[in-house]
Symmetry: C2
Subunit: 226 residues, 2 copies
């Protein structure tokens, strides 16, 4: 049975999964980059940045606990789901997207997914094939439709739910997430998008399956009981 | 300058500092004991239980990271402040307190404070001297009155704010907490009293001063900037 999995989701000590006022200048919201400090030094993220054309040494980076959790997030994944804001922050109908109408999201010409990616949105748009095997599909029928399409596209592999906070909260509330890895780092946001507020995870069937601290973050894997 | 310090406050992964429905049978609320799993094996807690007449080996218990953080919580403390519910769960005027009107809280005849303890309450009560140097004083004038009384009683030492969640939230919002150690353990509560929800700690002047993971919990010390 294929699973819906969340990996490498950074959370602040006060529970925020993104900062406020997300924009093209602050892709993760104001202060949101601090949520990912634990991940930037890892080999997996260095390689991802290199592949995306951002430079750096693809063989550099750390290979300890933090990296091992990130590696797992790319293992056995046949399709992705993400919220519109993770595709890129501009809101509203596509023709209004800045900086131009051909804007193809914030992941560069060769996005690091290399599968079909189902983007949750209220606004129809034709599929967008990119370099490297990634094709963005825009789903207007809600989280269940995206789930079904991604599971079919995954062909027996698992589906990774990339984020952001709102998408993860919807899938958790619907009990569709099978496994969620989050990394709680030493940051305080004070405002932004709260990941778990108001979600009663034990009642929804979730329990703590793994708890592995590293110097940079506390890695937690939640799993849904069958 | 004397400080107001919080120590050893257990928090779940989803941010709860106590379970719901606190009662004499569930002193920390339903499921709330899970917040303190990291602390029970330590020498400090073993000794505290022994002193309280609960038995066990006072020289047993672990002496690693978890214990070191608990030890700090008793160093240089000249007085305590706690909420009414931490004194004991029964609510309402004192004459109605079960199981009898002479009820002296849930800390036993020899409480582990050995100082004056200022209990926040809406209901007047005469001071209550106990064995071992602890005297409970009942403060009806609010958090600032308790702060001033405790600081005076501490005689130049620091004041420890024991809890519970509501008391800590009030003192944080008033920017009166100087330092707060919390231990985030591998538990999910889903419901109960949320420690930081709605408090914008960076705006209130707090920052992460220490972040020390142990296998049992992630220890975090927040400090208020001067």
């Amino acid at each position: 049975m294929s699973k819906l999995r969340v990996h490498g989701f950074g959370v602040s000590l006060d529970g925020y999964g993104a900062g406020p006022m997300q924009s093209l200048d602050n892709l993760m919201g104001v202060g949101g980059m601090a949520l990912h400090e634990w991940a930037f030094p890892t080999r997996t993220i260095r390689r991802m940045f290199f592949e995306m054309g951002l430079g750096g040494d693809p063989d550099g980076g750390t290979t300890g606990i933090d990296d091992a959790f990130l590696v797992r997030g790319f293992d056995g994944i046949g399709a992705w789901i993400m919220g519109r804001n993770m595709f890129g922050p501009p809101r509203g109908p596509w023709p209004n997207v800045p900086p131009d109408q051909a804007w193809k999201g914030c992941w560069g010409p060769n996005p690091p997914f290399h599968t079909s990616v189902y983007v949750l949105t209220h606004h129809r748009r034709e599929p967008l094939p990119m370099e490297g095997g990634t094709t963005f599909h825009f789903v207007t029928g809600g989280i269940r439709e995206a789930y079904d399409l991604a599971m079919e596209a995954a062909g027996g592999k698992d589906v990774r739910l990339g984020g952001g906070v709102n998408a993860i909260r919807q899938y958790l509330a619907a009990r569709l997430v099978d496994e969620m890895h989050m990394a709680i780092g030493p940051s305080l946001l004070g405002t932004g998008e709260h990941l778990l507020g108001g979600l009663d995870l034990p009642t929804l069937g979730y329990e703590v399956a793994e708890h592995v601290p590293s110097p940079s973050a506390t890695h937690v894997v939640l799993r849904r009981r069958d």
